[in-house]
């Protein structure tokens, strides 16, 4: 099991936003978390990424009980084992693409490995862009960089929050293709949280969430 969630209650303060009695995701079992706005998808992702601490229950990622880790350990765990892709493809504008990717490696506590960066960008067809700054890229190129950043540390789990909802149909398909392809290529399990019904058919495992309130 790459993800093993039991009796989870998560939320803010005393307010429970999402509660999940049990959820298991096997290695390689790319999964869609589908549900309307406010159903707790993002909260669930935050808990899995170790950004938020669950109010109750156990969250085990790749054999590590995330809720038992301290704040610093969760940061390290996230950097090392989890890749994150957001709707807003945020890249650091002060750094070149190469340095954005190196930053992802060094913040994860890994050695800077330029050959790994090269293979990641080669696979995404953006190897010519390494020395450009983010403002010099098109939206599509920026998306590829964001995906390269998510896979560069060979994470076990890639969490994507609404990666397609701002895209038109054509780009939506292309982005999803890249995500699935790159996740499989680096041996990671992809979990996409979205309200975007268009991509439902692309996933074998779909978990529907309903709002708690």
């Amino acid at each position: 099991m790459i993800v093993d969630i039991r009796n989870l209650k998560a939320g803010y303060g005393s307010r429970v936003v999402v509660s999940i009695p049990a959820l298991q995701i096997a290695k390689g079992g790319h999964t869609l978390l589908l549900g309307p706005s406010g159903c707790g998808k993002t909260t669930l992702l935050e808990v899995m990424a170790g950004i938020a601490v669950p109010l109750a229950g156990q969250v085990t990622i790749n054999g590590t009980a995330v809720e038992t880790l301290g704040a610093g350990e969760r940061d390290r765990f996230r950097g090392r084992h989890i890749g994150v892709v957001m709707q807003r493809l945020h890249l650091i504008s002060a750094l070149t693409i190469r340095k954005n990717l190196r930053l992802a490696q060094s913040l994860a506590g890994a050695e800077v490995d330029d050959s790994r960066i090269s293979s990641a960008v080669d696979a995404l067809g953006i190897s010519g862009k390494l020395d450009l700054y983010p403002r010099e890229l098109s939206q599509g190129e920026a998306q590829r960089v964001a995906i390269a950043r998510a896979v560069v540390n060979r994470p076990v789990l890639i969490l994507a929050d609404e990666p397609t909802s701002a895209l038109d149909d054509g780009n939506c398909e292309a982005a999803l293709d890249l995500l699935l392809e790159q996740s499989s290529a680096c041996g990671a399990t992809l979990i996409v949280a979205t309200h975007d019904q268009r991509i439902k058919a692309r996933f074998e495992h779909v978990v529907s969430l309903v709002g708690h309130s």
Partner: protein
């Protein structure tokens, strides 16, 4: 360690991204720090120099007038004398058991704005000076020149020159003698250099020494050519001043009072007059230092505002750093390192400005012979200034860094 180097690398990238704001902050801090350093260097060197010049002199006795002027003219040789005193009138005071040594000074002429001082060899002793070349004067019109005089005018043993009236080149600042606009060189009385002194770092480096009789002789003759009363220096049985060393510290309490109460004489203490001078100049120094401090504070404020603005712009960056595995501490360091880097660059620039500026002013002043300043030295308070400026820039980064530390990661994730 790894996260520290990552934070520093990122801080530099952020500073490079806004070169104008970065340079402006560094420049402002550099100018403020530089001004304070220049002031500190000037004051400490001036203070040292004046202490050294006055070290062997407990009291100056001269003609009535401004005590500050008496000290400036007789000890530092930067002002015109207050007048002359009669040797006979001074004799009872000098005979007091409280006086260990009294050195006569006869002033009035100069050569290329270096003052010619008629005195005794005891004058050389109180400054601990030694001869580099030649010997002490024996007869009239023989002179021994200080090290700076020799270096700047090129006078060496065997050369001769004629003195000019007044103190500065052309006698311009010698108000008493302004009517001698032609200030005829005493061309018919040429001095001959018989000795050159080793450098001491005190005022003796910048004077030309001869016997009291030499100065009198030169002016006896001039006196016959000039209307009576125009020449008031060192003529006849007169001298300009006496430098006194006390036999006992107790003399400080009674001797000056006794002298000042008697007739035409005035006693002035160099230490007291230096203190008074610094008091007079104090307001200007305080104002200048205050102005420089305001500059430093503005620089710190600039760093603070810059980092706060950048924080708003880079909110998403900070959240991203956390998503990529950065700890809160790393994010904090990224911001505080920017303040520290600006502070360090500003301090280095300030050190360069302050020291280069003083060295430049010093080399310009060299030509006026009045004060030697160098930038190749450190004033004691500089280390505190450097630490203070660094601390201030880090403090300026503290609030933005704390806000970065506290900012929540999920802001970047979509809540919609």
């Amino acid at each position: 360690m790894k996260s520290l180097s990552t934070a520093i690398a990122l801080a530099f990238a952020y500073l490079r991204e806004k070169p104008l704001a970065t340079l402006l902050n560094i420049l402002l801090l550099g100018l403020g720090v530089g001004t304070i350093i220049a002031l500190a260097l000037t004051l400490s060197q001036l203070d040292d120099r004046m202490d050294r010049d006055a070290a062997g002199v407990d009291l100056v006795i001269g003609a009535k007038g401004s005590p500050l002027q008496l000290v400036l003219s007789s000890v530092f040789h930067v002002d015109i004398p207050t007048g002359n005193i009669s040797v006979a009138e001074a004799a009872p005071v000098l005979a007091s058991p409280m006086v260990r040594r009294a050195i006569p000074l006869a002033l009035g002429d100069s050569y290329r704005s270096f003052r010619i001082v008629g005195t005794t060899s005891a004058y050389i002793e109180i400054y601990g000076a030694a001869l580099r070349d030649g010997r002490i004067w024996n007869t009239s019109l023989e002179v021994v020149v200080g090290a700076d005089v020799a270096r700047i005018t090129g006078l060496t043993v065997g050369k001769s020159f004629a003195g000019a009236h007044g103190l500065s080149e052309g006698g311009g600042d010698d108000a008493d003698h302004a009517d001698h606009a032609d200030h005829a060189d005493h061309a018919d009385h040429r001095y001959t250099v018989v000795g050159v002194l080793k450098p001491t770092g005190s005022v003796i480096d910048r004077v030309i020494l001869t016997s009291v009789e030499s100065v009198r002789e030169v002016h006896e003759d001039t006196k016959t050519q000039s209307p009576p009363g125009k020449h008031e220096h060192g003529a006849g049985d007169q001298v300009t001043a006496y430098l006194i060393q006390y036999a006992t510290p107790l003399a400080a309490a009674s001797l000056p009072r006794a002298v000042n109460a008697s007739g035409a004489l005035q006693a002035a203490s160099p230490a007291a007059e230096i203190a008074r001078l610094f008091n007079l100049a104090g307001l200007g120094i305080i104002a200048l230092r205050g102005f420089a401090l305001v500059m430093v504070l503005c620089a710190a404020l600039g760093i603070f505002v810059g980092l706060m603005n950048a924080l708003d712009e880079r909110r998403a960056d900070l959240a991203l750093l956390r998503l990529l595995g950065a700890s809160r501490a790393t994010v904090f360091l990224t911001v505080i390192a920017q303040g520290a880097a600006l502070g360090l660059a500003g301090v280095i620039l300030g050190l360069a400005i302050g020291h280069a500026g003083i060295e430049w002013i010093g080399s310009a002043l060299e030509k006026t012979h009045r004060l030697s300043l160098t930038g190749f030295t450190f004033a004691g308070e500089e280390i505190w200034l450097i630490l203070g400026a660094l601390l201030l820039s880090m403090l300026a980064g503290l609030v933005p860094a704390w806000r970065a530390y506290r900012s929540a990661v999920p802001e970047l994730l979509n809540r919609a």
